[in-house]
């Protein structure tokens, strides 16, 4: 019993952080899918991972000269690097949206490739251990620390609240920007705010669970939610619940079968649209 309690104590932060990440990305992902910017989610997750790699590299240099400062501010340094990287990526994408000779998709592809290569290059020049590199590149929800849980709660929950409050206006901007402009809504500002928020969520998510997990959270349960629901809010709620359920099941299976946690969660998430398709054939909610 005491062994179980010790296990629970060890895995509880990861489970709680995963649940928060699942709820937020699940809801946000419905807008990512409906706006047809799936690749943005993928590119931002990869850019966030690259930012984390840069932050860790920076941290190792700081540790050598200022170990006390690095100990106290290490998390903030890596997180700031990831958030800054996603903010730069969103700004580049915003600038590219007016380009006539190249598509925004093309720019996203370049950012994705650059960030993927950049992460590997940065870790190859670092003195990271193998586990550190694996956690950075592929994430490991199971070993999330209480600090990760606090970070998730502090950043992701306000993002979810903002999404709920502003949902009708965001949907207006995304569905009919011309009408929104006529009604005095600053469409560019709202779009930028959405993508910056997505960048911050991707940065936090990548630190806690890895970039691939964030991307899967944004895409897979959202597709399931859209297959099952006939209202935006309901689709988001279903998507969040599916993501949270897959997280709990994935972490349990990971402990039970000693398998990588994030990858198990991703596998379950990717099965959810298939299950939703089957259910939607029987009768829509």
């Amino acid at each position: 019993m005491s062994e179980l309690a010790a296990l629970w104590k060890f895995f509880a932060p990861g489970l709680a952080a995963g649940m928060i990440l699942a709820a937020v990305c699940g809801a946000l992902g419905v807008l990512v899918i409906t706006k047809r910017v799936t690749f943005v989610g993928m590119a931002l997750s990869e850019v966030a991972a690259c930012g984390l790699a840069f932050g860790l590299l920076l941290l190792h240099h700081v540790e050598a000269s200022m170990p006390v400062f690095a100990e106290a501010w290490g998390g903030a340094i890596t997180m700031s690097a990831a958030v800054a990287a996603t903010a730069v990526a969103v700004s580049i994408l915003a600038l590219a949206s007016g380009a006539r000779r190249i598509s925004q998709d093309g720019v996203m592809g370049i950012l994705f490739a650059l960030a993927g290569a950049g992460s590997i290059l940065l870790v190859s020049y670092s003195s990271f251990g193998l586990d550190e590199v694996k956690d950075l590149l592929w994430g490991n929800l199971l070993v999330a620390k209480p600090a990760d849980l606090a970070l998730s709660a502090a950043v992701l929950l306000p993002a979810l609240l903002a999404l709920i409050v502003f949902l009708p206006r965001i949907v207006l901007v995304f569905t009919d920007a011309d009408l929104a402009r006529l009604l005095g809504v600053r469409t560019k500002a709202w779009e930028l705010a959405f993508f910056y928020a997505l960048g911050v969520v991707a940065a936090v998510g990548s630190k806690v669970g890895g970039s691939l997990l964030v991307f899967a959270y944004l895409v897979a349960p959202s597709c399931a939610g859209l297959l099952l629901a006939r209202r935006m809010g309901k689709a988001m709620l279903i998507s969040s619940c599916i993501a949270a359920a897959c997280t709990a099941a994935g972490l349990y299976l990971s402990v039970r079968f000693d398998a990588p946690a994030s990858q198990l969660v991703i596998a379950l998430l990717c099965l959810s649209p298939l299950a939703a398709l089957g259910i939607s054939r029987i009768g829509r909610i």
Binding site: P168, L179, R181, L182
Partner: protein, 247 residues
């Protein structure tokens, strides 16, 4: 007076102004275009109250450009556009397909979008907004469809939902971009009859861009012809000629 070109357009419209007071929209030597390239130059046009004006012309002539210019979606490159709508924006009805059907929105959700101009940026629609939206839906005779999914509607019904959305915030001028381009014949007539009723019952002005203009001439005694960068208010015999050449 059969037709008036360029600077004569304002004069033509002024006949309507005398009867209906101040024009609802006025372009004064306005040029509209994309980037720095004008598509339409020196447009002088007054839209009085209570008119039903189809905007016709060949592909690429600038029909939609003119409509967007009047709406204020395309700022004039030169000149100015004056709106006299009591502080409300002009009603805008895009083509039904422009609202991506991937969004799981009900008819009520879509019509309520027309109320956002009246709300603070952090507010949601209240019961008053819902009642206004339901009333607008009743006006296009779709009051039983509030909870239906927008994507499950026919092309004609979608168009009427978007007209209802425009009625939520605009009470004097409504501008439509090819409202009948993707609907069958009965739906086309139904939409045009609804628009005519807005003019006759509410004294609203209706401007609609038409690509295929067959049925619209049954309802219009005047149209705006956009051709070779010029805008002509066509009536009478000229309208007949346009009908012959475009139908």
């Amino acid at each position: 007076m059969n037709g008036l070109r360029n600077q004569g357009v304002a004069a033509a419209a002024s006949i309507g102004d005398a009867a209906a007071g101040q024009p609802l929209a006025q372009c004064v030597n306005a040029s509209f275009g994309y980037g720095r390239t004008p598509v339409l130059e020196n447009v002088s046009l007054s839209v009085p109250r209570g008119v039903f004006w189809p905007i016709v012309g060949p592909n690429g002539a600038g029909k939609s450009t003119l409509l967007k210019g009047i709406l204020g979606l395309l700022p004039p490159l030169a000149g100015e556009v004056k709106l006299n709508l009591g502080g409300n924006p002009p009603g805008y009805v895009p083509q039904g397909w422009k609202l991506d059907s991937i969004y799981p929105l009900t008819v009520g959700d879509v019509v309520l979008q027309g109320r956002f101009g009246h709300m603070a940026w952090h507010k949601r629609p209240d019961s008053g907004d819902v009642e206004t939206a339901r009333q607008a839906l009743r006006e296009v005779r779709l009051d039983g469809r509030w909870d239906m999914n927008y994507r499950d509607l026919s092309g004609g019904m979608r168009q009427k939902v978007l007209i209802a959305r425009a009625l939520c915030y605009s009470h004097s001028l409504i501008c439509l971009d090819e409202p009948t381009s993707e609907v069958d014949k009965p739906s086309e007539l139904d939409i045009l009859e609804h628009l005519c009723r807005l003019r006759s019952e509410k004294n609203m002005s209706v401007l609609l861009v038409c690509h295929a203009i067959g049925a619209v001439f049954k309802y219009a005694d005047t149209c705006l012809l956009v051709e070779h960068g010029e805008i002509t208010v066509a009536r009478g015999a000229m309208l007949g000629k346009i009908k012959e050449s475009y139908v």
